[in-house]
């Protein structure tokens, strides 16, 4: 649970991995100062991570080739020496090891799966951020509208307090107005709730995707 990024500086010898590129989060600029477009940063991170994975795979393929040539050479030497049943060049316990080619194929598949998962997560994050910003905006607008709508009856009410009580009919009318205003506020609230539930449903669906993939695969 302790976060390694608190207190201990990152190890300089640690080479960047695709995962470290993808999970890098940048601090927010102080309010009032302009920051970078988060979407562009995320896209760039994904590209760097993909290229790192690509480079890793290319290096792995080269090493597999070297391994293959080494084995061929040893076999050739054995076939052309006087002692075809002599000790192989490398000793060690007889543990059945998968070939480097097989290892690389599995590694490649795993890297691709990791990239799909990372992209899905990034998409979810973006979706949630947009929805959040939209909700905040809706709330701010509703609040501003409410204040504006309230200002007029407040002013009238203040006047009414100083005016003669005789104008009861007018007061009644303002009361009706205030009631219809509250009703419209409730409608806005219900709308917001529906939107939130729809979002929650979408979110839940999105969150279930990896599990569904796993079953399908």
């Amino acid at each position: 649970m302790t976060d390694p990024s608190v207190g201990t500086p990152p190890q300089p010898t640690h080479r960047l991995t695709p995962e470290r590129v993808r999970s890098m989060r940048f601090g927010r600029t102080p309010i009032g100062r302009r920051g970078l477009n988060e979407e562009e940063v995320a896209q760039f991170q994904e590209r760097v991570a993909a290229e790192l994975a690509e480079r890793d795979a290319a290096e792995a393929a080269l090493r597999a080739k070297v391994e293959h040539y080494k084995r061929s050479l040893i076999q050739w030497q054995r076939e052309h020496s006087n002692d075809p049943y002599g000790e192989p060049a490398t000793g060690g316990p007889a543990v059945v090891q998968p070939t480097v080619e097989a290892v690389n194929i599995l590694s490649r598949a795993q890297q691709e799966a990791d990239a799909y998962i990372a992209q899905t997560q990034q998409y979810c994050r973006q979706l949630a951020d947009e929805a959040h910003a939209h909700a905040e905006q809706l709330l701010a607008e509703a609040r501003a509208q409410a204040e504006q709508m309230l200002a007029e009856p407040m002013r009238l009410a203040k006047e009414a307090a100083s005016v003669d009580v005789a104008d009861l009919a007018d007061l009644e009318r303002r009361l009706t107005w205030a009631r219809s205003f509250i009703a419209s506020l409730e409608a806005v609230e219900a709308q917001l709730r529906t939107a939130r539930e729809a979002l929650a449903y979408e979110f839940d669906r999105a969150a279930r995707v990896p599990a569904a993939d796993r079953r399908a695969g």
Binding site: V6, T17, S23, A113, L127
Partner: protein, 372 residues
């Protein structure tokens, strides 16, 4: 054992970065396919962790005693993944094959030294796992209540099927049935009730793999898996100093448990909790916290909002701002829990205010989800 040679060899191997753990896991899974099911679908985070752990062990290879506590914790932790004695040789073989693959010069002596070092590490881990044998490797816990609150936060009540002994401030790893092999740490926010159940406070991390499932999809009756309680950073010291507790968002959880403990013991230590959020909607447990603080005279709650004007008893500003504005805390033990950014910023402010470093206790959460 030539430890210098091992370190040099590791430096050469580790320079290949992510390719090293990739090769290791692929070798392991091809040689022992049944082990694949013990790992999550996505392995990127797992690979980074392995590389970091190996690096830590190798850098102490001439003084393995220094990493024994870490290895013991690893050994105990691995019980919850279903790791048993038989798995250790398989891992050792895959590790040696990996080291050989990435080494320009591989000699029988080097192979022997690596095997000896691995054997030593495995023995320490296994001994710790065996010593923890009386404790179950994991607990099942039934969700008995789900309370979804504002701002993507759910308060879950979980009843373990067997007693799960934790100290207030400790955390347990949690696995959801729909996200197998993915464990996340959460802190019980209450003392265990008479049936052993406790509260977990879960914040939804957008794009996270586990928290959305926990917050949005968990239903009463779901059975979670829970790991053994760990952590000492936020467990109350046995001193007598009064306490300043600073929480951000769901970082409230350990302090709610600690304050319940103080109330339960009728402690004479005074505890001030400054609990911060951006807006009042982020203060998802205000009613329960007010109720708790009324139950014992030694508890005080100051809710804080940073992005809204203050109102009533809710102060304006970040939790640490409000706390430092109100008093001098240099004779208090200070505990901090929240997001990594919040913990970092709070620590810097506290130290700048002259609070001695050894009186400041920190725990950060949140990166575990964003990092996967």
């Amino acid at each position: 054992m030539d430890t210098e040679r091992l370190k040099r060899n590791w430096a050469e191997v580790a320079a290949h970065g992510d390719q090293v753990p990739l090769f290791f896991y692929s070798t392991l899974f091809l040689a022992h396919p049944h082990l694949r099911d013990m790992f999550p679908l996505g392995m990127a985070n797992q690979r980074d962790k392995l590389l970091a752990a190996l690096g830590q062990v190798v850098s102490h290879v001439d003084d393995l005693d220094a990493v024994v506590p870490v290895l013991q914790q690893l050994g105990r932790d691995h019980r919850r993944f279903g790791v048993v004695r038989d798995h250790y040789p398989a891992v050792g073989q895959a590790l040696l094959a990996t080291l050989e693959h990435f080494s320009s010069e591989w000699t029988p002596e080097l192979a022997r030294d690596w095997a000896a070092a691995y054997d030593r590490v495995a023995q320490v881990m296994l001994a710790a796992a065996d010593a923890a044998g009386e404790m179950p490797p994991w607990w099942h816990g039934t969700v008995t209540a789900v309370d979804r609150r504002a701002a993507g936060i759910a308060v879950l009540t979980v009843r373990p099927h067997a007693p799960l002994p934790y100290l207030p401030g400790q955390s347990v790893a949690v696995e959801v049935p729909t996200r197998p092999r993915l464990w996340r740490w959460y802190t019980p926010a209450t003392l265990p009730a008479s049936d052993g159940s406790f509260e977990l406070h879960v914040r939804l991390v957008p794009g996270g793999q586990v928290s959305p499932a926990l917050v949005m999809a968990t239903q009463v009756g779901d059975v979670l898996r829970l790991g053994a309680p760990v952590g000492t950073d936020l467990v109350l010291d046995d001193g007598t100093r009064d306490l300043l507790l600073i929480a951000g968002g769901t970082g409230l959880a350990p302090f709610k448990a600690i304050m319940s403990q103080l109330a339960h013991q009728r402690s004479t230590r005074f505890a001030h909790l400054y609990w911060g959020g951006r807006t009042q909607r982020d203060l998802y447990d205000l009613a329960a916290m007010r109720h708790l603080c009324e139950s014992h005279s030694g508890l005080r709650l100051v809710p804080c909002v940073s992005d809204e004007p203050p109102s009533g008893d809710v102060a304006g500003g970040t939790a640490v701002d409000v706390a430092l504005r109100e008093a001098d805390w240099r004779d208090h033990e200070v505990y901090v829990c929240g997001s990594p950014e919040m913990v970092r910023a709070t620590r810097d402010r506290l130290l700048a205010a002259g609070i001695p470093r050894d009186q400041v206790h920190l725990e950060a959460f949140g990166n575990q989800e964003t990092a996967t």
